[in-house]
């Protein structure tokens, strides 16, 4: 059974095609990541699935309901957390939650068990206006409000953008718990380390899905050998590597640069020997496993 079915979905804003023939399915209870650059159509897809935007072509079903014909049913069964903070800034934490519960014909107490772990962190600030909360707290409140009617499917559009590492880790811990409750989660993120936490990832660019696979499969499909190199001056090394015909691609990854080699027959020893002739300073190079971020960059540059 699929909670979300998207078939040849299309959305166009004047001459700008935002979503172009996008198709994917999300299994019931699955955590599915939609990963793509800004402007790749992620938000338009979310808005169409949340029945806030009418598609120009194709079809989409959520919980078996058609996004156009049965929009009322869908609104009862999904929770949506938009990319920008969309709660009432001049209502307090508690008032916002109460408001959303009432709209969905429920009460805070009825589904309290679902939001309890998140809400206890907000409770000390329950009388504060939501506009005066920090980024991490706003995001927790938005999640609570999206969950208050115990939705079957949760749409999270870049929930952790602008949020620090510690809060991001906490947020994903919460998502794990929601998954245990059987909630289907469709989430988008620009953080590649978070993508790894999804069961399957759809990589999206220019409104089309480039690939849909579990993170491990995406990594296994990486077509080249990948090496990590470092030296004392990484900026200098970066520009030097870009000039070398031997190098297929070079990208910074924290304390290393990740490189691929044009000639696939070369061994690590060959590469090291060649680089030693080219680079007038000591360096360290090792063969490594690609990360999802390497794969994403490779797919985008194709």
């Amino acid at each position: 059974m699929h909670s979300v079915v998207v078939e040849n979905l299309r959305k166009q804003y004047k001459e700008n095609v935002a979503v172009d023939d996008a198709s994917f399915k999300v299994n019931e209870g699955e955590t599915f990541g939609l990963i793509g650059p800004d402007g790749s159509g992620k938000t338009s897809i979310f808005r169409m699935l949340a029945t806030l935007l009418v598609p120009d072509g194709g079809e989409a079903h959520v919980c078996g309901w058609d996004v156009v014909k049965n929009y009322k049913e869908i609104r009862k069964s999904v929770g949506y957390m938009p990319g920008t903070f969309s709660l009432y800034q001049d209502l307090t934490v508690e008032e916002n939650l109460h408001f959303f519960a009432t709209i969905f014909n429920t009460t805070i107490t009825e589904n309290y068990s679902l939001i309890k772990d998140i809400y206890v962190q907000l409770e000390p600030f329950k009388n504060r206006r939501s506009g005066n909360l920090s980024g991490g707290m706003k995001q927790k409140l938005a999640l609570c409000c999206a969950l208050i009617h115990r939705p079957e499917v949760l749409f999270l559009d870049e929930p952790t953008t602008g949020v620090d590492t510690v809060s991001r880790k906490e947020f994903w811990e919460m998502l794990k718990k929601l998954k245990k409750e059987g909630i289907t989660i469709l989430v988008s993120t620009p953080y590649m380390d978070e993508a790894t936490l999804c069961e399957r990832i759809g990589l999206i660019q220019k409104g089309r899905l480039l690939s849909i696979d579990p993170p491990q499969v995406i990594i296994e499909k990486y077509p080249k050998a990948l090496y990590a190199i470092k030296s004392h001056n990484m900026i200098e090394l970066l520009s030097a590597l870009r000039e070398l015909p031997l190098i297929g691609s070079v990208h910074s990854f924290g304390e290393h640069h990740h490189i691929t080699i044009v000639d696939r027959t070369l061994t690590l020893l060959d590469i090291r020997a060649t680089l030693e002739k080219e680079l007038p300073y000591p360096f360290q190079i090792d063969k490594i496993e690609p990360s999802v971020e390497d794969c994403f960059i490779q797919l985008m540059e194709k």
Binding site: D38, S134, P190, M300
Partner: protein, 248 residues
């Protein structure tokens, strides 16, 4: 020889009522370095940065930015710095060219210089065919690159970047850092905040704010060594976890 200080901060404090957002921080930033200013949400980064840009007056403490005093010479400071943030950077309803002209004008560039810089900038960013488009219609990554280029159009001593790559895709993030490296080559000091820990590695030195204090300040490799960990992510996690103040 003593390294030239572009920012020198001593005991800088900002209180809002009985809440101490920034609690007597002391540090220097040297000419030509990339200085990473890290911390959890609510640790006091933005408040500190706003003070250094002359937008918020300190409660106590001393600081000079680009050689000017933070209390008496804020207007002079503003001519010597560049600033961009993820939240506010360019006017969405002006075109690429108009934004460049507007900011160049504000930063005091003469007509001739403005024309020259405008052309150079549009070419170097490859925005020739978008020059007359509204900035609002550009993808976020392009906006950010343009915003950065505009923030350094007057060749400031230092540029403040507040989460410049938030929400930007992996390729554009790296292109953005190329722009930072280029600015450094042109003698512009870079003061940057980020939530991407791989980007923390690209900084010469990093300060880490926790509860309004600077909990650590060193090069990425020394910080990792000191904490006995392999990644900046772990350093950040170790330090941010010690926060007592709720991120409210």
């Amino acid at each position: 020889m003593e390294k030239e200080k572009v920012i020198s901060v001593s005991g800088l404090t900002k209180k809002f009522g009985d809440f101490t957002a920034v609690n007597g921080i002391t540090f220097d930033v040297y000419k030509g370095e990339i200085f990473g200013f890290l911390g959890a949400n609510g640790a006091g980064k933005t408040t500190a940065m706003r003070m250094l840009c002359g937008l918020l007056s300190p409660t106590s403490g001393d600081a000079t930015v680009a050689g000017f005093d933070l209390y008496k010479q804020t207007e002079k400071i503003k001519t010597k710095i560049g600033y961009m943030s993820q939240k506010f950077s360019l006017y969405e309803d002006l075109t690429v060219k108009e934004n460049i002209t507007f900011y160049g004008g504000i930063y005091g560039l003469g007509n001739r210089e403005l024309k020259f810089q405008s052309k150079r900038l549009i070419e170097s960013l490859g925005l020739q065919s978008e020059a007359n488009q509204l900035v609002g219609s550009l993808p976020l990554g392009w906006k950010q690159k343009l915003a950065f280029s505009v923030a350094v159009i007057h060749k400031p001593s230092i540029v403040f970047l507040d989460e410049p790559t938030g929400g930007v895709d992996p390729i554009t993030r790296r292109q953005f850092w190329d722009l930072i490296y280029e600015a450094v080559k042109n003698d512009i000091t870079v003061f940057v905040t980020t939530h991407y820990m791989d980007e923390a590695e690209y900084c010469n030195r990093i300060s880490m704010m926790v509860d309004g204090d600077i909990a650590a300040l060193d090069s990425p490799s020394n910080l990792k060594q000191g904490h006995g960990v392999d990644s900046m992510d772990e350093v950040f996690y170790n330090l941010a976890r010690t926060a007592k103040r709720k991120s409210d």
